[in-house]
Symmetry: C2
Subunit: 187 residues, 2 copies
């Protein structure tokens, strides 16, 4: 059992308050987290997971989650897809880099295909399903960035150049398309 | 003064050991950090900063540093450029997404131009200088990813499509081009 004790203070040569260890002076920097995810296609359909956990339990999302220590982003996207939908991905390329500053997230979203046509819900999913583009449940998507990613993936499928998309102009990920204001957007 | 005490344990519904608060059960997730930086051009020259701090004090680098909480990546790249070289950037686009898993870093590197032709060293720089491409001090660059970024920026300048570059094949950022093995790559 490790006991650690921190004091909130501005370290020497810094300009922001940080948590500093009372024993050794170690500075615990808190920084934004990286979400890695993927828009997964299989024979023209798109794979979505219905969330078994909060926030936004019951809503549909793309396989995504926090990058772990010592993990490369594409490896993280593959791990999350495996954990949430029991799928194996062929990653094609980086589709988008989104930022949600309110909750200190940067999202790296990839375009991918199913390496094998098998899928099933992992512990954090109630259901995993392939949707034809016309059948995507837009009213039941979990987060603004899921809307963005599906729209951008459709643009990519339609021949947009392979340049990563960014937040839609003026959007910071706080609002659902219907106008609902979000308080959390953890994946 | 805030006192916090953590125990290292695997939280319920998790599969990795985390720091958990002894008082309230808060889980302190440690995740990779995001470095934001930019290759900055001005009239065909490239701006580099000579590091005033360790690691790699005295070596040349591009303006870059850790993204802060509640900060969008391009804003962070602009802030770091301002802090390290007292410059104002016009960011053109995302040049590269690099990953250095050993030290849990993801780097978002932008192409940028000087909005004004003024520059001077900030507290973390000994010197700031514009280099013609032929005069870049390749033997005195701070990190592998600085080599990559300068090479990729040259490819972009030469007409490569505006798709972000990635780590060179097989490279994980542990080794300088001359073969020196690095133990740290903090920016």
């Amino acid at each position: 059992m490790t006991e650690i004790s921190f004091t909130q203070t501005v370290p020497e040569d810094d300009d922001r308050s940080r948590h500093v260890c009372d024993n050794c002076g170690f500075v615990l920097y808190e920084n934004p987290k990286i979400v890695v995810g993927s828009v997964v296609r299989h024979e023209g359909q798109i794979l979505l997971c219905r969330r078994a956990i909060n926030p936004r339990k019951g809503f549909w999302t793309i396989p995504a989650g926090y990058l772990e220590l010592n993990e490369a982003p594409e490896d993280g996207a593959r791990r999350e897809a495996s954990e949430e939908a029991n799928i194996t991905l062929d990653i094609e390329r980086l589709l988008a880099v989104y930022s949600v500053p309110r909750i200190s997230q940067v999202q790296l979203i990839y375009r991918a295909r199913l390496a094998r046509p098998d899928y099933s819900p992992g512990p954090e999913s109630l259901e995993v399903k392939l949707f034809s583009p016309d059948d995507i449940p837009y009213d039941e998507l979990a987060f603004p960035s899921v809307h963005w990613a599906l729209g951008h993936d459709a643009e990519a499928e339609g021949g947009a150049p392979p340049v990563p998309f960014k937040n839609p102009e003026g959007e910071t990920g706080n609002m659902m398309p219907g106008g609902e204001r979000l308080r959390t957007e953890n994946m």
